[in-house]
Subunit: 414 residues, 2 copies
C-alpha cells in the first residue's frame, strides 16, 4: 500500500467518525481557531523558512506575498474558521420526502461527501480554510499544497490535527500530503474509491491539469474570462464605474473582467468615458477596429486570442458589437462561464441577457466582482465552480455535501 | 472537425434554442410520442433487421429479448414519453435567493445542464426514454447506443427528430452517433467543452470503462452490490419475505440484493426460514462457515470474492455476523453504495443503520427493489447514481439540471 492509499484509507475511516459528529464539529473548529492563534510563533517560524527558501529560489514578489504569513493573517485564518463554525450545519437537513401510496416513508437527507482532496498552490491560508469547510460539512480532507509552502502547511496541519483530536474527533479528518512532487498529485487523481471528489485551487495550469487527468470526480474552479456588455440604453457613468471596479479593484482574481462589449449606438459616447476611468489605473486597452476608430489608433489592436484570454492584469479587451444578440453570441463563444454583466435601462434586454447568457453568475447593473461566497451570503467559500455538475458558482459548506434516501417501511415488497 | 465534434457543436447550438423553450418542449414530447406510434411499422421493420443480424451473430436469448421491439413495447415507449411530458418542468424554478444588505437581489435559478451524452447498450427503448428526459430538462442529447440496435435506434431517432423539428425546436436537440465502434465512445469521453456530462447505462464493464477513461464529467450509474441485514430483533417471516422479493423478483437489476447478513442470535431460526423461501426459486446460497453449520454442508462455501460480487442471478451470499456493528462494517467494506436494508424491530438499531450506512438508499423493513425513480415518485428515471457528486440514487428530470445565479443591481460596485 502506498503512502497515499494509506492516507485515503485513514481518511475514509475518519469520515465515518465525522459523519455523525454533530455539534462536536463546531467544538473542534473553535479549538482549531484557538490553536492557530496560540501557535502563531511556531507557524511564523516555519513560514520564515519557507520564505527564505523561496527567496533563494528567486520567487516573484507577488508569489512571495501570497506565501507570507504574519500575525494579522494568522488572526484572519482563525477568524475564518470561527465564521465557518458559526454557519448552519447542513448535515442531517431533510431536503425532501413524503409518504408513498404503499406506505413507505421516503426522506432525502443531506450527508457528507466523504473524503475531499484539495490540490492547491502557494497560499498557506488555504490549508486552514479548506480544512475548516470540509470538517464543517463532515468530510475528511486530504490537503496537497505547493512545495513552496510545505513547512508552513505542515506546521498548520499539525496544530489543526492536534486540536481536532483533543475534541474527540479523528485526527485523520485532516491530513497533509508531505510529498509535494508532481507524482503525489497524479496519484491523488487516481484514488477512485478512496477520494470522493477533488477540488483544485490555483492557476489555470493546475486546474486544467487536474480536470484533464483525474479519474476521481473533479469540481473545476476559478477560471474566469468575464464580460461586461454595455447596452445602447446604458447609463454611461454607471457603465464606466462598474467597468473600472470590475477590472481594477483586484485584477488578479477570477471575477475580474477581461472583455468589455459596447453597443455600436452608444460606443462613441461610452468608450471615451470608460477609457477616462481606466486611464486612472493605466489599464491597457486592446480594441477591435471600431473601438480604435473611436478611441484612436494608439489603442493596441485586439487579435482573436485576446477574446479568449484571462489576463488577470491591468489589460482589457474592448469590442464594439451590433447589439445584444451579438454580445450574447460573443459571450457564448469565448466566456469561461464564470460571471458576466449587462449595463442597461431596458427591462427587455435585462431579461434576455439573464435568460440567455449561460454563466454561473449573470448580473444586471452591478460589478462581476460580487461573485463570491461571502458577498452572496453563503459564508466562506471553497472556490467558485465553473462547471455545471454538482455545484455552480460560489461553493460554500452546502456544496461539500451529498444526499441519501432513507426509507422507512413495515415489510413492503415490490 | 470530426463528425463527433460537429455533433457536439450542433448540440451546443440546439441547447441554446432549448433552454428558453418552455411549453414548446411538452408540445415536442407529445409529438414525439405520437410519431413513435405512427411509425410503428418502420420501427419494427428496422428492429427485425437488427434481430436477424443479432441472431446470425449468435446473440443470447436474454440479450435478444432486450433488443426486441413489438407493438406493446413501442406503445410503452410512447406512454413513457407522455408521462415525462406530464411532469413539472424544473427549468426556471427559483431554488433560493434574497436581497443582500447592499441591495443586490440574488436569485439561484434552475437551468439545463446543456449537452448530455448517453452511452448505452442493446435496449432501443433507452433511445426514446433518454431523449425525452433530456429534452424535458432543456438539454440537447447525443445518444450512442450499441451496434446491435443501430438500425432500430437510427429509425427511432429519425422519427423523434422530425417530431421535434415540426414543433419548431431544433432537431439537433436529439442526435444519434452512427459509428458504433469503440472509437466513437472513446471520442465522446474526450469532448470536454462540447458535452457537459456523460451518463453510461448498461453493464458494469461499460460503466467502469467510462468512469475510468472519461475527461467529460460522468455520472456513474447502476452498479448494485446490495445487502439485507437481519437484526436479532427481526420478524423472521418479514425478513424471509423481503429477502425473497429483493433477490428473486428480478435478479438482473441493480436494486436486487446479493448478500444477506444475519445476526448470530437469530441465525439458527432465521436461516432455515429464509432458505425455505429461496428454495422456491432454486436460489443458490453461498454461505460463510457459520451459515453452513446451520444450513448444512451442502451449502456452497462462500469465498472472499463472493462478498464483492454482483451476481445479477439466482445466487445469494449469506454471512452470519456478530451484530449490527459487524454488519455495518461489512457493508462499508463491500457495498457499491446503492441500496441496503435492515430488518429489525429495534428503534435504536433502525436509527443506527440508517445513519451509519453510507449508501444512496437505506431501508428499514422494506425491499431494496424500491430504489427506482417511479417508486420514489420522481417520475421516469435516467438511471440510478451510485456516486455522491451531483446526484445520488434515482435520477429524474431534476437531476438533469444545473443552476445559475442571476443578480439584479442598480450600479453596485465592490
Amino acid at each position: 500500500m502506498t503512502v497515499l492509499e494509506q492516507m485515503g484509507k485513514n481518511a475514509k475511516e475518519a469520515a465515518r467518525g465525522l459523519a455523525p459528529a454533530g455539534a462536536l464539529k463546531n467544538k473542534a473548529l473553535y479549538a482549531m481557531a484557538q490553536a492557530l492563534e496560540d501557535g502563531e510563533a511556531e507557524i511564523l517560524a516555519a513560514n520564515a523558512q519557507d520564505l527564505k527558501a523561496a527567496g533563494e529560489n528567486g520567487m516573484s514578489e507577488s508569489l512571495l506575498d501570497r506565501l507570507t504569513l504574519n500575525s494579522t493573517r494568522i488572526k484572519a485564518m482563525a477568524d475564518g474558521i470561527r465564521s465557518v463554525a458559526a454557519q448552519t450545519d447542513p448535515i442531517g437537513t431533510i431536503v425532501g420526502g413524503g409518504v408513498r401510496p404503499n406506505g413507505l416513508k421516503i426522506e432525502q437527507v443531506r450527508v457528507p461527501l466523504g473524503v475531499i482532496g484539495i490540490i492547491y498552490e502557494a497560499r498557506p491560508n488555504v490549508t486552514a480554510d479548506a480544512a475548516a469547510l470540509c470538517l464543517k460539512a463532515g468530510n475528511a480532507v486530504i490537503l496537497r499544497g505547493g512545495k513552496e509552502a510545505i513547512r508552513s502547511n505542515t506546521r498548520i496541519t499539525e496544530i489543526l490535527r492536534a486540536a481536532v483530536e483533543q475534541t474527540g474527533l479523528p485526527k485523520d479528518s485532516i491530513q497533509l500530503v508531505e510529498d509535494t512532487s508532481r507524482a503525489s498529485s497524479v496519484e491523488m487523481m487516481q484514488l477512485t474509491g478512496l477520494i470522493d471528489v477533488l477540488i483544485p485551487r490555483g492557476g489555470r495550469g493546475l486546474i486544467q491539469s487536474v480536470v484533464q487527468n483525474s479519474r476521481v470526480p473533479v469540481i473545476e474552479t476559478g477560471s474566469g474570462n468575464c464580460h461586461v456588455y454595455v447596452d445602447d440604453t446604458a447609463d454611461i457613468e454607471m457603465a464606466a464605474n462598474i467597468i473600472f471596479n470590475a477590472k481594477t479593484s483586484r485584477p488578479s482574481v477570477c471575477n475580474a473582467i477581461e472583455t468589455v462589449l459596447v453597443h455600436r449606438d452608444i460606443a462613441e459616447k461610452a468608450l471615451p468615458a470608460i477609457k477616462a476611468r481606466l486611464d486612472e489605473k493605466k489599464v491597457e486597452i486592446r480594441g477591435c477596429e471600431r473601438t480604435r476608430e473611436i478611441l484612436g489608433a494608439d489603442v493596441i489592436p485586439a487579435v482573436e486570442e485576446d477574446w479568449a484570454t484571462e489576463y488577470l492584469d491591468y489589460i482589457l479587451a474592448v469590442k464594439v458589437v451590433d447589439g445584444i444578440d451579438d454580445a450574447i453570441d460573443h459571450i457564448a463563444r469565448y466566456s469561461s462561464g464564470h460571471s458576466e454583466a449587462i449595463i442597461t435601462k431596458s427591462y427587455e434586454n435585462a431579461q434576455k441577457f439573464t435568460a440567455q447568457v449561460d454563466s454561473a453568475a449573470v448580473y444586471v447593473n452591478a460589478s462581476t466582482r460580487f461573485t463570491d461566497g461571502g458577498e452572496f451570503g453563503l459564508g466562506a467559500e471553497i472556490g467558485i465552480s465553473t462547471q455545471k455538475l454538482h455545484a455552480r458558482g460560489p461553493m460554500g459548506v452546502n456544496e461539500l455535501t451529498s444526499t441519501k434516501f432513507i426509507i422507512s417501511g413495515s415489510g413492503q415488497i415490490r
